[in-house]
């Protein structure tokens, strides 16, 4: 078996001392070229886990290996090239145009006093085409609709040209049309060899695009492994504490709750 691209070994994390840990002795590994979903109820520690993978939060115990090396040995710029984040939401206080906003994604490739050049603009334009927003490049980023902004954040993450794309609930605020756009985009990225890690509250989405899934409950791994083995009626019912039904047809899986 190939060595995992990202490996989390026995991490624990708590927000304040003397409180119960948000994550407890958690391990997971992510192979290159896979789509990994983290599912779990609110407050299970999904976003915290993403933050730890990115190095934004430091775990109390355990370590994170990126391409066999401890992530603490990577420089900030190197990390920016390895992984990029699509946050759940983000406030942009100043009015940047869509293109100016996208160019921010070039930061890991530029030294501190360097400015983005024509090649960087080309990369930004290509990312904008990938998400289908090329007609908006001169528009103020703050004036986009919720769906467009989500696509824009994904485009910026692509401008970083990462090995691993991390998304925090990428479809939670999207209408069905935009949701499908994001799904298609993630599938295309997967076919280009990008490794994807994302959290969601939508088991159907997880079943639709992921190859691997991890069920997180109260800071512990309930189940993890290949998607079809993890996303079962009994596992999901156990995860959410209600009856869940998983219907698998040839190329489509639907998950719904029953009473």
């Amino acid at each position: 078996m190939a060595n995992p691209l990202l490996e989390i070994q026995d991490i624990s994390y708590r927000y304040r001392m003397n409180t119960t840990p948000v994550l407890q002795n958690l391990s997971m590994s992510i192979e290159k070229g896979t789509v990994n979903t983290i599912l779990g109820p609110n407050g299970a520690g999904k976003s915290t886990l993403l933050d730890i993978c990115l190095g934004w939060k430091e775990p109390e115990t355990g370590r994170i290996l990126l391409n066999q090396h401890d992530i603490t040995s990577f420089s900030r710029r190197q990390m920016g090239r390895w992984m990029s984040l699509v946050p759940q939401d983000e406030q942009v206080r100043f009015e940047y145009t869509v293109l100016e906003y996208l160019l921010l994604g070039r930061a890991p490739y530029l030294s501190q006093l360097e400015m983005p050049g024509p090649e960087d603009v080309d990369i930004a334009r290509r990312a904008l085409e990938k998400v289908g927003l090329q007609h908006l490049q001169e528009r103020p980023a703050s004036k986009l609709s919720g769906g467009e902004h989500q696509l824009l954040m994904i485009a910026r993450a692509l401008v970083q040209e990462p090995h691993i794309l991390v998304l925090d609930e990428p479809t939670s605020r999207l209408d069905p049309g935009n949701r499908q756009r994001v799904v298609n985009l993630l599938k295309t990225l997967l076919s280009h060899g990008v490794t994807i890690l994302f959290t969601t509250h939508d088991p159907t989405l997880a079943a639709d695009i992921s190859t691997h899934a991890l069920l997180l409950k109260q800071g512990k791994v309930l189940h993890s492994g290949p998607e079809e083995k993890v996303l079962t009626s009994s596992n999901l019912s156990q995860l959410y504490g209600i009856n869940m039904e998983v219907l698998r047809r040839e190329d489509k899986t639907i998950v719904f709750s029953t009473h």
Binding site: Q78, R81, R93, L110, E138
Partner: protein, 340 residues
């Protein structure tokens, strides 16, 4: 995009030309031999006028250039790294610290200018350091909110200190001097003073200019900036200290000159874009033009000197009100931009 870039660059060149014209006019404007402009020919013939321009007007104009560009640059940098368009360069205890330092030295020592300058610069930096350290120890809110709160509290402490110093000051000699210092002005600036702040200003402003694109990244929230490969805390601290050093240096010779650091960045963003690549240089040039004009008015309009801080606040606050109420300009601009 390319055409936008070209347009913005052209805009900056036009601003630079405007600045050159402003400086030239400021050199020729004064109250000698009569209030108003002196013609270049007259200047060449009159040795007294030449000495006046060289020894009085020129150092003052250079100080005004440094003051305007420094405050406006620091203001823009602060607004961007705090992602808050309402902060100004003195808000982290810097302005009030400087005022406290100046008033203490006016009362406690013989009011030699260099002592006032040194003590105000020192107290400005102490203001920043205390605000920063306090913010680290607060158990409340996010980092930016903590800094802002610490800044407000430290400024208030210095203000009450100023109150005490004013209370014990000699009402005939020291009190007017404190008041005049706090109203701001460049009337006492000579070559030595202008030279004394030059190194800090040049190094500081150059560093800030070098960071002008990266400011955009630092205006994002911490987590986003981090995920883009930055070390947001370290880089913000570097810019914070640099911008404060420039502010402290300039107000140490000028006294409190408010509104430049607040209003000019707004104008620059309005005329150019929020992108620091253009907003920062534009801010600096507009700030320089603004202060040179205000200072020229301050020294020529009346027989006596009008305090510069009074003029910058009066004109600045007026402009601010006009800018904020002119929504139509903004909408029109977007509509224009959105058409492909």
């Amino acid at each position: 995009m390319v055409s936008t870039l070209r347009r913005q660059r052209r805009g900056l060149v036009i601003l630079l030309l405007l600045l050159a014209v402003t400086v030239l006019l400021a050199v020729l404007t004064g109250r000698y031999p009569s209030p108003g402009l002196i013609s270049p020919a007259q200047l060449l013939e009159d040795p007294l006028a030449q000495s006046l321009v060289l020894n009085l007007r020129l150092p003052r104009i250079i100080a005004a250039l440094l003051l305007g560009s420094g405050l406006a640059a620091a203001g823009l940098v602060f607004q961007m790294i705090f992602a808050n368009p309402l902060v100004e360069p003195g808000f982290l205890g810097v302005s009030q610290g400087a005022a406290f330092g100046a008033s203490v030295s006016i009362v406690a020592f013989a009011p030699a200018l260099w002592i006032i300058q040194l003590s105000s610069a020192l107290c400005a930096l102490i203001g920043l350091a205390v605000s920063y350290i306090m913010a680290r120890h607060f158990h409340f809110g996010g980092w930016v909110l903590r800094l802002i709160l610490a800044g407000i509290a430290v400024s208030a402490l210095f203000s009450s200190g100023i109150g005490i110093v004013k209370f014990v000051a000699d009402p005939m000699s020291q009190l007017p001097e404190i008041t005049f210092w706090m109203l701001g002005g460049l009337w006492s600036v000579d070559w030595q003073q202008a030279r004394s702040i030059l190194p800090v200003c040049i190094i500081g402003i150059t560093l800030l200019l070098g960071y002008r694109w990266r400011l955009n990244l630092l205006s994002m929230d911490d987590r986003t900036a981090f995920s883009l490969g930055l070390a947001p805390f370290r880089e913000r601290l570097l810019l914070l200290v640099t911008a404060t050093a420039v502010t402290a240096a300039t107000i140490s010779i000028s006294g409190i000159v408010s509104w430049v650091g607040l209003i000019v960045p707004h104008i620059a963003r309005r005329l150019f874009s929020s992108d620091g690549r253009f907003a920062l240089p534009a801010s600096m040039i507009i700030g320089a033009i603004y202060v040179v004009i205000c200072d020229t008015l301050a020294r020529t309009v009346l027989d006596g000197e009008i305090p510069l801080g009074v003029l910058t606040s009066f004109i600045g606050a007026g402009l601010f009100l006009v800018l904020l109420s002119k929504k139509r300009i903004k909408k029109g601009k977007y509509r224009g931009e959105s058409t492909p």
